[in-house]
């Protein structure tokens, strides 16, 4: 069966053909590839910081919070990139700030207030979308359309990941220091609070980007799953971010191929691939993977 493919003009071995031809033959696959790489480059390191700052669920909550904003954009302008982007950004920022204020000025902790706000947002968002749209539109908003990325969206995704990587490079020291030893940071610098706010802004920005490709429910998957998997491969934060990016890119490619050959929906296939990498890392990862914990080998002399 593969014979016919190898007999084609490319002369590639069958396995390589299976991996390459979807991208070489179809433009929408190439666009999707560019999109997921951009998402992985920005989301990977953001996810690592979310995880290390014990904010993994915050990312999830923010992702849901974006929905009503994007939905309002959709209500006003239909499936329009700028309207839904601006709406999503606005909603994300409002919820982040509101949750921050509530936790600062009341006895409710930030995670509890975020949970309250994102549940409200999710319900509000689904309601708004269903006011005007069909179920197809709702599915689009919830699960994204990674196989239908147009030029504008690709440009947005690329800009977001570029901005993210540059901002993280600038903020690297205070971000790390605020996680490890916030008191020390406060004693040497006032950068703590602005850093935290800019970081939250980057989280929202990446979620809005991921939202166009993967939808509000799955966007956070490309942040947290690669980051959580990377934790099992390195105990150094720089390495962890690189591994997280690579895992994100690999899961993106694997998910697209899986969806192409097995005719699965692309967004979930990408997240499932990332999930598979996570489970494999959990079992085999060199830094505290389950198998290494079960069979650590005989102890050393010193």
């Amino acid at each position: 069966m593969r014979m016919s493919a190898s007999a084609g003009p490319h002369k590639e071995p069958p396995v390589l053909d299976l991996l390459v031809s979807p991208f070489s033959e179809f433009e929408f696959m190439r666009r999707a590839l560019v999109g997921v790489i951009a998402i992985a480059l920005g989301g990977g390191p953001i996810g690592v910081f979310l995880m290390l700052r014990r904010m993994s669920l915050t990312g999830d909550a923010m992702a849901h919070a974006i929905l009503p904003g994007a939905a309002v954009g959709y209500l006003l302008a239909g499936l329009s990139l700028p309207a839904m982007t601006i709406g999503g950004l606005a909603a994300g920022v409002i919820v982040a700030v509101a949750a921050g204020l509530v936790s600062r000025f009341t006895s409710l902790k930030e995670d509890a207030s975020l949970a309250a706000f994102y549940l409200l947002s999710l319900a509000l968002g689904v309601t708004i979308v269903s006011l005007r749209g069909s179920n197809v539109d709702l599915l689009h908003v919830l699960f994204g359309t990674v196989l239908a990325l147009d030029d504008g969206t690709l440009l947005l995704l690329a800009s977001i990941s570029t901005l993210t990587v540059m901002a993280l490079a600038v903020l690297y020291r205070p971000l790390v220091l605020e996680c490890v030893d916030p008191i020390f940071l406060r004693s040497v610098s006032r950068a703590g609070t602005p850093t935290h706010l800019i970081f939250l802004g980057l989280v929202v920005l990446n979620l809005v980007g991921g939202f166009h490709a993967l939808g509000t429910l799955l966007a956070v998957g490309m942040m947290m799953l690669p980051a959580a998997a990377a934790r099992f491969w390195s105990s150094d934060i720089t390495m962890m971010m690189i591994v997280s990016m690579l895992i994100g890119i690999a899961s993106g490619i694997a998910g697209l191929l899986l969806s192409f050959h097995a005719e699965l929906p692309a967004g979930p296939a990408i997240i499932l691939s990332a999930g598979a990498v996570y489970v494999a890392s959990l079992l085999m990862g060199r830094e505290g993977g389950v198998l290494w914990l079960l069979w650590p080998g005989k102890h050393l002399e010193a």
Binding site: R173, I183, V188
Partner: protein, 249 residues
């Protein structure tokens, strides 16, 4: 020689949480280059006092004035406040002491690297550079934090219970650094519980039990009478406490 300059001046300082004072009407000053122990029972306001000096806690009343460069305080909080699970190497943790010079994104020069090496060697952590901080013992972590203090090169150094749960050998090594700072005329203030250590090494002592009990030369401050007074401090909040009128007239 004239009277030494003041490093930290307290004007009727009250520090606390909500409206409850944890340090009540502290007045006096810490001379530049002095080596002062802060002693008192648990809950006496010792850590609160250091937070007030660093500026993370604003006084409810009165003023704390720092003389000298504003970025000149190195502060070692109690051990529990650092996230030890964070994937950071000992080298990077110690290098953060250079913050005041390198700032957000200044590079680390060859000279800085030499300084980091020197600090690591001064605390006996050569060979630990690449170890993640999660693998350090309590004593090794404290050594690393002292190396960071060394790099901060600050004229004023505040230590909050630096030797709690630290073994004798490490304590002795780190005390040598405290002595070295004193010899270099830095101002050192340390919260301590070991009164023998205070008597041996710290010329000045502030005995505090929410109210300052005694402040001055260590042998006089740590008299049996004063210690008894400090021990009588009432820790519980008084639900019927009146608004403090001291200094209002």
């Amino acid at each position: 020689m004239s009277a030494p300059a003041t490093a930290i001046r307290f004007d009727e300082v009250t520090l606390g949480y909500g409206r409850r004072p944890a340090v009540h009407h502290l007045d006096g000053n810490i001379p530049a280059g002095s080596l002062t122990a802060v002693v008192g029972p648990n809950g006496a306001g010792k850590s609160t006092l250091l937070k007030g000096i660093v500026g993370t806690l604003k006084p409810l009343d009165g003023h704390i004035r720092l003389h000298g460069p504003s970025a000149g305080i190195a502060y070692l909080p109690q051990a529990a406040e650092i996230d030890r699970s964070f994937p950071l190497s000992v080298y990077d943790l110690v290098a953060m002491g250079l913050w005041s010079r390198s700032g957000l994104f200044g590079g680390i020069s060859a000279r800085d690297r030499a300084k980091i090496e020197e600090a690591l060697s001064a605390v006996g952590l050569i060979g630990f550079e690449r170890r993640p901080i999660s693998t350090l013992s309590g004593g090794q972590m404290q050594r690393a934090l002292f190396a960071r203090l060394l790099l901060q090169d600050a004229p004023v150094i505040l230590l909050d219970e630096p030797f709690t749960a630290i073994d004798a050998k490490t304590t002795a090594d780190l005390l040598d650094l405290v002595r070295r700072w004193h010899d270099e005329s830095r101002t050192v203030v340390a919260v301590l519980h070991d009164l023998d250590m205070v008597r041996r090494i710290f010329p000045k002592t502030l005995l505090i039990a929410r109210e300052p009990v005694a402040w001055g030369d260590t042998p006089e401050v740590l008299s049996a009478d004063n210690l008894l007074k400090a021990r009588r401090m009432v820790e519980a909040h008084d639900p019927h406490a009146h608004v403090c009128q001291r200094g209002a007239a």
